[in-house]
Amino acid sequence: MTIDRARVSLLMRTYRTQILVGSASAIAFVGFIGLGITARRRATAASVELARLASIRSEVSNFRAAFRASRADEAWLLSDTTAVSTTRDLRVSLAEEVAARAERAGLASVRVRFTQPDSAAEPPRPDLIRSSIAVANYTITVDAAGSLGAVLLLVNQLPSSVAVQRLTATRAKNGAEYHLVLAVLESAGLEQHG
């Protein structure tokens, strides 16, 4: 099919105004549709955001309605007396506490050491809102001699900030020797205020 250039040129001249207005209309149509679609999408997103904010306000209102001030006998609850973790600075104190409890449990030849993390599974950690607790990158190892009952007594009396990862008992000439690997729960972040 050949294009008659003269005819096309004639048509262009004849319908110049119509072509200009039609082109402008087409461009305007496309522009308006694009603008409208964009605005509609953003309006939908804004509506979703609005619903989310309304939900937040509703939750806050419900929270305020349900909130009751602390009674006097609940004051202890808000203090940080329930220690489930320690800090790196207090690890020697913690080792001392563990050694003291082992000796009080009746174990002999107690030796406490700081060692590399054990390959056993990590103990569970408390999931707190205002601070996070992680398993420390060291372990406390306790070597001692004595009875199985004394070891189990120690296990039951360990501080909350340590958890048994591994317990090994080996027969020896003078009885049994025990090797405990304790994971330490360490505060990973400071409490956030506000």
Partner: protein
């Protein structure tokens, strides 16, 4: 309630201007006043000025006006053309006008009359039959003068037509009888003569060229009528006008009427009895013509909204109009969407600020609540830890308590797993016989397996060691010794609680 609009008819010619005011009633139109300016006008512009003065003298504002024009280059013509759309006929008519009257750029108007019907062959009644087409033409400058001088004066121009068509309309208003009829209108510029056959205009004769200011005498008029009658008879196979409708000045009417009756042996009747002069009669003819459904109208009326819309919606313009409409609709839709977005955005901003303020106001309460939650979780954690340790201690204690005679542990290893604990026990079983030694292991194995918190109990090692590897003084030298290794899983949770 406003008064009814006043209505006028006018006749414009070099020889004078005539204005007629009329009122419509049940019988048609009734002339209520007639005024004339007999001064000679050298141009159409001057004639219109005279007309405007007449209208102003009558206090005619917001009125309607129909005009018949004679001279000033205005022409009348009749053609036989097939019934076709105006777009097709218009160039044909224009070329014919240019050819017949020598007008380079004429303003042209035309309207359709009856179907041409030769006396010998009746019309078929189809659309292809040629129709009389009445044509009016004028120099473009004349029409422009009309438009410019009459615009903006508060007068609605109903139509500007030519004298023969006004006469035609008057004839039709008399009933358009089938009887061959001659219509004679004796204007100052000369007599206009028309012959009608079977109710159809067949011949229109313009006044002869006369000297300026010279009025045609009765004898000149009679000669003109006779020549026209002869031509009419020759052209239409002996047709003879047996009736004459006459419009003449009152002082000439009787003489003309009696002379016509004598020469043509025809009945003479007045063409329009309501007007005092032939010019007033023609003006009323223009009024009647203006009220036809398709008047022969030279005046360039502003296009009506409907016609403009139709023109805009035809052909390429229609495509462009459709595209523009779509763009406009899209624009409106986009505006609505943008407005909706702006509204939602503002609402979201307000809600965001309100939520922030609300959250800030509850910050102390939230702090207390979070501390409560943390405290409760810590307590739960401590309780779970203690329970886990208690379970582990109890399990190991009971495992140790169920060791039968002849079985002893060499080592015990317990390691934490994700689901609880994995334990391994290495030891020896001895007996006087192999059966006793194996029985000891079996008894221990069964005791372990019987425990609820124990699972996947596996005997990993079961072998008889060499005597050199044994250095235990507690057993008899003749005893059978079996070394074993037992592994099992301990559940971390306490099912008994």
């Amino acid at each position: 309630m406003s008064a009814a609009r006043r209505a006028f008819g006018a006749f414009l010619a070099h020889d004078g201007v005539c204005l007629v005011e009329y009122q419509r009633d049940r019988m048609g139109a009734r002339v209520v006043g007639q005024w004339a300016d007999a001064g000679r006008s050298a141009s159409l512009d001057e004639a219109i000025e005279r007309l405007v003065r007449l209208l102003a003298a009558r206090g005619a504002k917001n009125g309607r006006l129909a005009i018949a024009i004679e001279q000033f280059g205005v022409q009348h013509h009749v053609m036989m053309l097939p019934d076709a759309p105006n777009e097709i006929l218009e160039p044909i008519v224009r070329r014919e006008v240019q050819r017949a009257f020598g007008l380079a750029d004429p303003a042209v108007a035309f309207t359709r009359g009856r179907v041409a019907q030769p006396r010998s062959t009746p019309a078929s009644g189809t659309k292809a039959d040629p129709r009389q087409t009445f044509i009016a033409a004028a120099p473009r400058s004349a029409v422009d003068t009309l438009r410019m001088r009459l615009a903006g004066r508060g007068i609605e121009i109903e139509a500007v037509t030519v004298v023969p068509k006004a006469i035609h309309s008057l004839y039709e208003a008399t009933g358009a009888a089938l009887e061959p009829t001659a219509v004679l209108v004796c204007l100052e510029g000369g007599p206009h003569l028309a012959f009608f056959l079977d109710g159809r205009l067949e011949l229109a004769v313009d006044p002869p060229i006369a000297l300026e200011g010279e009025r045609a005498s009765v004898s000149m008029v009679l000669d003109q009528v006779e020549r026209g009658a002869v031509y009419f008879r020759q052209q239409f196979r002996g047709a003879v006008a047996t009736r004459v409708l006459l419009a003449a000045r009152p002082d000439e009417y009787d003489a003309l009427a009696s002379a016509l009756e004598q020469r043509l042996a025809a009945r003479v009747k007045p063409l329009f009895a309501g007007a005092a002069s032939p010019e007033g009669v023609v003006a009323m003819g223009a009024v009647i013509e203006a009220h036809h459904s398709a008047p022969l109208d030279l005046f360039p009326h502003p296009a009506s909204l409907e016609s403009r819309v139709r023109a805009a919606l035809r052909g390429p313009n229609g495509v462009v109009a459709a595209m523009a409409s779509m763009a406009a609709a899209a624009g409106i839709w986009a505006a609505v969407q943008v407005s909706g977005f702006a509204s939602a955005h503002m609402s979201a901003d307000r809600a965001r600020v309100a939520a922030r303020m609300s959250i800030s106001a509850t910050a102390p309460m939230r702090l207390v609540a979070e501390r409560r939650v943390d405290a409760v979780r810590k307590i739960e954690f401590v309780e779970n830890s203690e329970r886990e340790r208690a379970v582990l201690s109890r399990s190991l204690r009971e495992v140790a308590a169920r060791v039968p005679d002849g079985v002893r542990f060499d080592s015990l290893r317990v390691s934490r797993t994700t689901a609880g604990w994995v334990a391994g026990i290495s030891g020896q079983a001895s007996g006087a016989t192999a059966a006793q030694a194996v029985g000891g292991i079996d008894s221990f194995y069964r005791a372990i397996r019987a425990r609820q918190e124990v699972s996947q109990v596996t005997l990993d090692q079961f072998e008889y060691p060499t005597s050199t590897s044994l250095a235990d003084s507690t057993r008899h030298a003749a005893d059978v010794v079996i070394q074993f290794h037992l592994s099992f899983n301990l559940e971390g949770r306490d099912d008994d609680r």
